[in-house]
Every structure is written in structure tokens, then in C-alpha cells.
């Protein structure tokens, strides 16, 4: 009933390869199918992680024990952190939309190493399995938080080994994805696609890939040292054996701060695709957008110390890290200004992905500004380890990356599935989700300023009101999430057929049918101008 408009080219969903059924997915080296493998794994884990978050918020509805005790709460926030950080937001946009869209946007047939791409997914699954194993074997679930801080991580009775090794495998998977994208971008751009004719989403993937490649090994070796510490009692980070726990923090954040930019850069890239498409205008300051992506990736390496302002660093180091933290805000601000300027005098086409992009800018600004508050030394001493930090982090990573993820999901849904989603329900879902998000996280800023510490299942009576509001927000947010996801799945079955270019997009992926043919481009495209070339 489809795919006979002159061409006999089957699309990637209908294509019959060597294998059948589930095997045609898990043995496929097609970047589009691997992207969807990631999408389903990540979405499932996201729902699990969000459900754990929902339970934790329910625990905090009143002081004292509501549904779980301290031990269970510790185990839950650890699992929530490991799943959401290592298995959801870090691979989120690059592994799903990067895999699917990068070759399409640069006019390539696939990524440079398709088999390696599939291997990355298997490593990802293996890493997730290790984390699952850590929950169901041993005497006690891991309870260190996702940061595995020394010396607790090798003293706790929690079942740390599988969890730490799982995080190592997830990191390895991330390195290989980054490596693949770097080579793909260097070697496989379509003829005529010079560096400055490349769309901004691939550009952010490029910057991200360098971080994945150059920062992840540091956390890899650090996690291996924790493993060795637990197994052989070596003493790297054990003060009783001469080791230094603060050194662990340095090594850990040397990766884990750049990791925040692994999460946010591709999100910014997706927003930079959505905005020009729906504004019908070339993006304002294309070159500045490119430069700011690279600058964020570069400066992002040198700010890790701001996670350790209260860990007894030297005064000079504190000033330098604080200064650099303020500097890294500049390229992010450049991006926000450019998005807003793109909208100036534009004929805006109001559709769900555009609403997501606007919501992204709103929450990302709040997240960014609150970051500057805790980036300043004096304020951080007061706010460190309070709910303020939790709120800031969720505004950036859930509000930033999460919103961009759903924006990208709606933007590319017609391309990926060949169907249109139901716009009314998508907008209702977004509205409920947005209200829930603000209700959930906004009170945490006030709770943090008032002094409520993070990572406790219990709190003082004075914090009760804020927590009730926040918990109710979590219910609204979860309802919104359910509407969004249900709508996308229902649309997959019932949606009307999508045209090749439903939004009037100008990048290469919109020039081919939806869903794309197996080989992506029937003829290799030849690029003669830059992206977003609207009149």
C-alpha cells in the first residue's frame, strides 16, 4: 500500500533482510534500526527511572516514614541516579536521534562503522543488565548515590561491584558511539557538504563525541580503581591506607562534569533544528552556534572543581574554578540569544515541536541561572548538598535534555515512523507535563535555600508545605508523561500517513520519503548551500 511512487525501494521498516522478527532488529546494523533499539531501551528505562522518582517523591509527602525507610530510600535514589544518568540522559539524544538522523542529515548511507554501532548497543544492554543484577543479588542494594564517592563505595555492604562495572560498560558504549560519530562526520559527509554547510545537530554531536571520547576513559579507570579497591583493598582512595578520597572526587568529576555537556549539547542541537524549521528562517548566527558548541565542549573540561567547593580545595583553585564556571555560561547564553533572535520577525508555524522548544528555553534559562548561583563560592557553601542543587540539576538535565528529547521525538516522529502524531493530545500532554514539571521542581529551590538537605528520606516539619506541593507536582508530571507516551504509541497505529516533509524542513532528512528507504538516499545528494536556507 506504500512505497511504489515510481521507485521500488523498500523503507527500512518493511525491508526483509537476512533475519526475521526480533532478529531483524537485534542483528541489524542499519543505523535507523539501531536508533530505534536505543529508543525502546532508553524509553523503558526512563519510565522505570521516573517511576522510582515518583515513589521517592511520595515518600517525601510528609516527614518521617511514609512508604519506605532510610535504607530503601538510599537504594532508590542510587538506582534512580544510575539509570537516569548513565542509561538515559547520556545516551539519550546521541544514541537515539544521533544514530537515526546524523547519517540522514549529512547525506550518508550509514555511520562509519555499522557493526561497532551494534556492538555499542550490546554493551549498553550488558551495562544495564549489570545494574539490574546489582539490585537482585547480594545482601543489600547499592546505596552510594550515582557518584560512588570514596571511601563509602568500598565500605558499604551494598552490592557495588555489578553496579560500578555496569556504569563502566555504559561508559564504554558511549565512547564507541562517540568514536563512530567522529569518523562518520569526518569521512562521510555528502559531496559539497563543507564543515560550515553542516546542520547544527550534527555539529553538536561532533562536539559531544569529542567529550565522550576524551572524558569517559577517565571515569572508566576511576570506576576500575573502585572495583580493585573493593576486591583487593589496594588503598587508592582509602585514607587508612594513605589514599585520598578527594582525589577520587577530582577524577570522578573530571569526567562527570563534561558528561553534563554530553547530555545538554545534543539537546541544544535538536532545538537548533526545530527553531529554524518552525520559524521559517535561517538560524541567527550560524557560525556562533557552531563555535559556541565547540567552546562549551572545550571549557566544560575545566570546571569540574565546582562540584567540590566544600571539599577543602585551595583558595586559588576555588577562584579559578568559579571563574571558569561563569565563563562556560557565555556560550550557552549565546545559543539562547540566537534562538530568540531567530524568532524575530519570523512567520512562526505553531506546532508541538515548537512548543517543546519554547518550553525548553524557559526551563533551561531557570536551570542555567540557578547554576550561576551555585557556581559562586559564597552561595555554594550555603546551598551545597541541599534541594537547591537537586532543583538546578533537574531543570538542566530533565528540563533541558528531557524537554529537547520529547521535542525531537515529536519533530522527527513523522520521519521515523511515517505517521503523524495526534497534535491535540500531544499539546495537552505537553501542557500537563510542563505544569507538573514546574510544580515539582520550583519548590525545591525554596526548600534548598531554607536549608533542606538532599538525599534524606525524612525532613523537619518546617519543610512540609514545599514538599507537599512538590509531591503533587510529581503526580501531574507523571500524568503528562503518560499522555505524551500513550499518544505517540497510539499514533503509531492510528496516525495518518506522513508526507516526506510535514514541517517544511530544509535539512536533508526531509528530502527523502518517510519512513526513509533502507539505503537512505537513492542518489547521493550534492550540497550546494548551507542549511536552513529559507527565503
Amino acid at each position: 500500500m506504500s512505497a511504489h511512487e515510481g521507485m521500488q525501494e523498500p523503507n527500512y521498516l518493511e525491508f526483509k533482510g537476512k533475519y526475521k522478527g526480533i532478529y531483524s532488529w537485534i542483528f541489524s546494523t542499519d543505523h535507523k534500526r539501531i536508533g530505534l533499539l536505543y529508543l525502546f531501551s532508553i524509553l523503558s528505562l526512563f519510565v522505570i527511572g521516573a517511576t522510582i522518582g515518583l515513589l521517592m517523591k511520595f515518600e517525601l509527602i510528609a516527614p518521617g516514614k511514609t512508604i519506605m525507610d532510610a535504607k530503601a530510600y538510599n537504594a532508590f535514589f542510587t538506582l534512580h541516579g544510575i539509570i537516569m544518568i548513565f542509561a538515559v540522559v547520556i545516551p539519550g539524544l546521541p544514541a537515539v536521534f544521533g544514530n537515526f538522523m546524523l547519517p540522514l542529515q549529512i547525506g550518508a548511507k550509514d555511520v562509519a562503522f555499522p557493526k561497532l554501532n551494534l556492538l555499542s548497543w550490546y554493551l549498553y544492554v550488558a551495562g544495564v543488565l549489570m545494574v539490574v543484577i546489582s539490585q537482585f543479588t547480594g545482601d543489600q542494594a547499592p546505596d552510594t548515590g550515582w557518584t560512588f564517592y570514596a571511601p563509602y563505595s568500598f565500605r558499604t555492604a551494598g552490592n557495588m561491584l555489578p553496579a560500578v562495572f555496569g556504569a563502566f560498560l555504559l561508559g564504554f558504549s558511549s565512547i564507541l558511539t562517540g568514536l563512530n560519530f567522529l569518523v562518520t562526520i569526518h569521512r562521510m559527509r555528502a559531496p559539497g557538504m563543507t564543515w560550515l554547510r553542516m546542520p547544527l545537530f550534527p555539529w553538536t554531536l561532533y562536539a559531544t563525541a569529542w567529550i565522550q571520547l576524551l572524558a569517559t576513559p577517565i571515569v572508566g579507570i576511576t570506576l576500575l580503581m573502585i572495583v580493585a579497591e573493593r576486591l583487593f583493598n589496594i588503598g587508592f582512595f582509602d585514607p587508612t591506607l594513605g589514599g585520598d578520597p578527594v582525589l577520587y572526587q577530582h577524577l570522578f568529576w573530571t569526567y562527570s562534569h563534561p558528561a553534563v555537556y554530553i547530555m545538554i549539547l545534543p539537546a541544544m542541537g535538536a532545538i537548533s533544528e526545530i527553531i529554524p524549521t518552525f520559524a521559517r528562517k535561517i538560524i541567527f548566527g550560524y557560525k556562533f552556534m557552531v563555535a559556541s558548541s565547540l567552546l562549551i565542549a572545550f571549557v566544560g573540561y575545566f570546571v569540574w572543581g565546582h562540584h567540590m567547593f566544600t571539599a577543602n580545595m585551595s583558595g586559588k583553585a576555588l577562584y579559578i574554578f568559579s571563574l571558569l564556571t561563569f565563563l562556560v555560561a557565555i556560550p550557552s547564553a549565546i545559543k539562547v540569544f540566537n534562538w530568540i533572535s531567530t524568532l524575530y520577525k519570523a512567520s512562526i508555524y505553531l506546532q508541538t515541536p515548537f512548543f517543546w522548544a519554547m518550553a525548553f528555553i524557559f526551563v533551561f534559562m531557570i536551570g542555567g541561572f540557578s547554576g550561576l548561583i551555585i557556581g559562586s563560592l559564597a552561595a555554594d557553601v550555603h546551598l551545597h548538598d541541599t534541594h537547591f542543587v537537586v532543583a538546578h540539576f533537574h531543570f538542566i538535565v530533565f528540563g533541558g535534555t528531557g524537554f529537547a528529547f520529547f521535542g525531537a521525538a515529536h519533530y522527527w516522529f513523522p520521519k521515523i515512523t511515517g505517521k503523524m502524531y495526534d497534535a491535540l493530545w500531544a499539546n495537552i500532554g505537553l501542557t500537563v507535563f510542563f505544569i507538573g514539571f514546574i510544580t515539582l521542581y520550583m519548590p525545591m529551590f525554596f526548600l534548598g535555600v531554607a536549608g533542606m538537605p538532599r538525599r534524606y528520606f525524612d525532613y523537619d516539619e518546617v519543610f512540609h508545605t514545599g514538599n507537599i506541593i512538590s509531591t503533587m507536582g510529581s503526580w501531574i508530571l507523571y500524568s503528562g508523561l503518560s499522555i505524551i507516551i500513550t499518544n505517540l504509541f497510539v499514533s503509531l497505529k492510528r496516525g495518518v500517513k506522513a508526507p516526506a516533509d510535514p514541517w517544511g524542513g530544509s535539512t536533508l532528512e526531509w528530502t527523502i520519503p518517510s519512513p526513509p528507504p533502507v539505503e537512505n538516499f537513492i542518489e547521493t545528494p550534492i550540497i550546494t548551500k548551507g542549511p536552513y536556507s529559507y527565503k
Binding site: G17, D30, V183, R187, L213, P217, F236, G242, L247
Partner: protein, 202 residues
């Protein structure tokens, strides 16, 4: 997907990929070099004395072995380029043999220390103070991780040798052999740093 039967080969891409992977390996060890420097700075005297207990001759022999093995694998690439399959395989065999000798030396070295009750967690080592605990902790961890890389390299080279036997690596398609050589050189290079750090700087 197996639809694309027409050969798409990009040797430069493969080599770029390998080089990028080598960057990650360097950073993996880089983290350990940072840890080493910090603890050497804090425990200068203990590191100085502990390093004198390692056998410089064994370390030197192992260094020479690895350097020669790097040369043989490089020569193996040249041999296959000149279409000399037999010589190329012979040289790879040499490389594997030298790698095994290296591991053998390492085994006896470690065995010697362990016999003297010097290993992480041993009460004898603990009684010698924090500097020694850290020195030997780093020694076992770093040389152990390096030995693991040697083993991975040997398996990789063995796999490549099989491909040469099956004529999958030939005089105009040898990028996999080159990549295995690059990996082996990196393993060699890391040893070139480990050797002075543990054996020579006393």
C-alpha cells in the same frame, strides 16, 4: 543490512577510528598517571626506596622485548604489502612469541614479590607504611592493566594472523593488520612510560 553488497571500503576511516580509540586508551592510563604523580609527590621517600626493590634488569629485558616485537609487527605490515604472506605470518608469530615471553617475565616478577608477601592487602606490606602500600598498589594495578592489554593485543594479532591465512588480508587490503600494529605500538608506548616510573626513577 546485507543489501549493500557493493564494496564500501574506507581505509582512512578505519585508521582514524583506531587512532581515536588509542586516544581513549592513553586517557585511561592518563588517569592512573595522575594518581601516580599525586602519591609520588606526597610519599617521595617511600616511593624512592620501594622502587629500588624492583629488578632493573628484568624491566630492561622486558622493554627490549616489547621494542623488538613492535619492530616485527611493523615489518609484518611491510611484508604483506610486498605480497609475502609467509614472511608476514612468520613475523606475526615472532610478535606473539615475544609478547608471551614478556608475560612470562611479568609472571615470575609478580611471583617473586608475592612470595615475599608483598601484595595488596598483605599484613607485611601494610606494616611497611602507607607509601609502600600505595607504590605496590599502583605497581600491581598499572602493570596488571598493561598485561591485560598485552593479552588483548595477542588475541587481536592471533585473529589477524587467521585472516592472513584465509587470504582476507592481502597486499591491497591490509588496514586491519595495520590497526593491530597501531594497537601493539600503543601497548609498547605505555610500557615505555611505566618502565621509568616504576623501575628507573628511584
Amino acid at each position: 543490512m546485507s543489501l549493500k553488497m557493493e564494496e564500501h571500503r574506507d581505509d582512512l576511516a578505519s585508521k582514524t577510528g583506531m587512532w581515536l580509540f588509542l586516544f581513549t586508551e592513553m586517557l585511561l592510563f592518563g588517569g592512573l598517571f595522575v594518581v601516580y604523580s599525586v602519591y609520588r609527590y606526597i610519599n617521595a621517600d617511600a616511593f624512592h626506596l620501594a622502587a629500588q626493590e624492583l629488578s632493573v634488569p628484568v624491566g630492561t629485558i622486558n622493554t627490549i622485548i616489547l621494542l623488538i616485537s613492535s619492530a616485527t609487527i611493523a615489518m609484518s605490515v611491510t611484508a604483506i604489502r610486498k605480497n609475502n604472506k609467509k614472511l608476514s605470518l612468520l613475523l606475526l608469530g615472532f610478535t606473539i612469541l615475544l609478547g608471551l615471553v614478556f608475560l612470562g617475565n611479568k609472571y615470575f616478577e609478580w611471583g617473586h614479590h608475592i612470595k615475599e608477601n608483598i601484595y595488596p592487602g598483605s599484613p607485611v606490606l601494610a606494616s611497611r607504611g602507607q607509601g609502600d602500600v600505595l607504590f605496590y598498589g599502583l605497581y600491581y594495578f598499572m602493570t596488571g592493566l598493561h598485561a591485560l592489554h598485552i593479552i588483548i593485543g595477542l588475541v587481536f594479532i592471533g585473529f589477524i594472523a587467521r585472516l592472513i591465512i584465509k587470504d582476507r588480508i592481502v597486499s591491497d587490503n591490509y588496514v586491519l593488520l595495520e590497526n593491530s600494529g597501531l594497537y601493539w605500538h600503543l601497548v609498547d608506548l605505555i610500557w615505555i612510560f611505566l618502565f621509568p616510573l616504576f623501575y628507573l626513577i628511584t
